[in-house]
Symmetry: none
Subunit: 402 residues, 2 copies
């Protein structure tokens, strides 16, 4: 992690930093002369914070690159996602809240349909539903492989994950998905001799699974992709000197936070107010609070412009729950853009608001929105600079050099 210089400069302080992420916050106007979701939303509190604070925009990966949720969050946490690639198997496992330790091997699996000769007919087993897939996954949980502990977890619809834990396991194994039908799945092959033993464990598991699935009408086989272990990311709490808590509803974000060493907080409810109440309960025990709002992204993915506007407004209405805690630095942004117009993640720079009493250089912007942020005082910067900016405004960094 190229932040050795940050760790070296850390200065102890009692200050509190809140990073409030509205997932997929950035948007687009539906018409050429229209406003974005964030520009449309009535957000009197965020507009006040924008007036008192300063605005900018983040680039999550590189200009023009649309990030997935994993890389986008890693970037916000300071890990350049071009340098820190977290295997999809580990992300998938983290995504359902399964802890993966360094040396554990996780792999994403898709149920598939094969013919009598083992040739792939459907790489997603007719996109079978949760209720069809779950009993099949239950059967697979019975498989034992001598030498390793095996876990099997259903993820969603035709997707599941297999995790092996043991000594001397390595993830250098090729995908078995040929990415086309009309051919059999590929054999489980080690890319590196050191992973041969691991590949053999997965072959043994696969042979038993094949026998169990033989009579299934649709899910009579599977493919495996993204063999991965915990990449052993540098510890966020150590790099930035912050006792760090994750307050999130969805497993994926808890998983990424867990991978970087934050404490994942359990709490009841899933509204913004519930999340802010959870922050309040742990306020004295932590220095840094990552608070994640999922539904802005979900609404964007659904193409629901008004729904996304409504979520943003509901966050603004709940904000007093955070502001009453008197954070020293409050940063409000997204991990990436998810314009309702596109129904997908996008590459557009992400609106960013930094509020910190006294130490912020104000700009001339008075509302929180894409075009205000494009003229904001922080300029457009890489998302990995988020934490250094937060630390600086929290009085937690010494001077660099004499």
């Amino acid at each position: 992690m190229p932040f050795d210089y940050i760790t070296y400069l850390l200065s102890p302080n009692e200050t509190k930093i809140v990073l409030l992420i509205m997932d997929g916050l950035g948007g687009l106007p539906l018409t050429a002369d229209g406003k974005t979701e964030l520009e449309t939303a009535r957000t009197p509190l965020m507009d006040r914070l924008a007036t008192e604070g300063t605005l900018g925009r983040t680039i999550p990966v590189r200009p023009g690159i649309t990030p997935g949720s994993g890389p986008a969050h890693l970037s916000l946490f300071g890990y350049d996602p071009i340098d820190y690639v977290v295997g999809r198997g580990a992300l998938e496992a983290c995504g359902i809240g399964i802890g993966i330790k360094s040396g554990d091997i996780a792999v994403r699996c898709n149920f598939a349909t094969v013919d009598a000769d083992g040739v792939l007919l459907d790489r997603r087993a007719g996109r079978i539903s949760n209720s069809e897939a779950q009993p099949v996954v239950e059967k697979l949980k019975a498989i034992k492989v001598p030498g390793v502990d095996v876990e099997v977890h259903h993820v969603k619809e035709y997707r599941f994950t297999v995790i092996m834990r043991g000594d001397g396991l390595f993830s250098d194994i090729d995908d078995t998905d040929p990415q086309e039908t009309g051919v059999p799945p590929l054999p489980i092959t080690a890319k590196d001799p050191r992973a041969e033993k691991t590949a053999e464990y997965f072959r043994q598991w696969s042979d038993q699974a094949k026998a169990i699935l033989a009579d299934e009408p649709k899910a009579n086989f599977f493919t495996m992709r993204g063999f991965a272990t915990n990449p052993g990311l540098p510890s966020f709490p150590k790099v930035f000197g912050l006792r760090s808590a994750c307050v999130a509803v969805y497993p994926m974000y808890k998983g990424v936070s867990d991978l970087v060493g934050m404490d994942v907080i359990e709490f009841e409810g899933e509204s913004p107010a519930d999340e802010f109440a959870a922050v309040k309960r742990i306020w004295d025990q932590y220095d840094f609070f990552f608070v994640h709002i999922k539904k802005t992204d979900s609404m964007g993915e659904d193409g629901n412009f008004d729904g996304k506007v409504g979520i943003i407004e509901s966050v603004d209405q709940a904000l007093p729950g955070l502001l009453d805690l008197k954070p020293d630095v409050l940063m409000i942004t997204g991990d990436h853009s998810t314009p309702a117009k596109m129904r997908s993640h996008s590459w557009h720079p992400v609106p960013f608001l930094l509020w910190a009493p006294e130490l912020v250089m104000p700009d001339q912007q008075t509302s929180f929105g894409e075009r205000a942020c494009a003229l904001g005082g922080l300029g457009t910067f890489h998302a990995t600079q988020t934490l250094p900016l937060g630390l600086a405004h929290a009085g937690r960094l010494n001077k660099y050099g004499a």
Copy 2:
């Protein structure tokens, strides 16, 4: 230095470039609705230059990082201070105008008080004054060490520097300051076998010094920190193809200029007008003029908002002395921000003005200030890009590629 491409593109020209640094120029408003020091100052000439030219802001090190003066100037000169670390011993020596060549070893020393057993009682010898310290330093100048030339210079109060010059010297030596009292200073220990001979020279010097200081009431010993040599920075005049002069009052800035190979100009007086007069005298002999104004920073460090405003105004009033020389490119900026409100250096981006007749792309800004610069045509850029921008506007760079 990652500017090979610049050197390759250099095109001979007769043009003159002036880089006018007002140290610690960037500021903050004292109140939420207030103006910064630069925004407050009446600067009709700089405002005219801003109108005719273009504005922007520099990041000296990285977003959120507060730079010291050495790193901040290295960055303006094109040397990324994360890549080019100049040891504090060398900076301290340069700071008092002592030339350090590559292979010379300089170390910062603090007088200290120890008890009869050699245990540290005070790591700064009661912060003895200049008048107390100077005679003690004079005694130390008598010490000879066979095999090397030794220089001892008083720096300020309890601080002095020891410089050794000779063959085969290396600076890989641990600090002797234990950073606490109640223990003896650490022995002089080589970090690398190649520095063992150098460490032995310093041990011999230290043993003699100890005997000389034995009867001093306060300064009866010392600690040594930051053993360093001239880091052998790439030559600024060669990299950028500019006969380069430094016009500065304070030793530190002369020192950094000397380290990168500029000619340090001697002159009488210390007002902006005196400095600009010095530039006039050498105008025909150089292509590049680094002119350093110190007192903006001093006033900021003192928390003297109005004083800093006054210094900025005095520079504006003296500016005709520079403009009458008809520079082809005039860049006015700071090395970092020193808001009077904070009484210290800060991480905030630094206002930048580039004026060049004919070749500048004008922006819509008509005054020189933080918020105008945030909206300026050059955007926010790393300070290491200053010289390439200056060279381009001076017609000193060829096209890159066909």
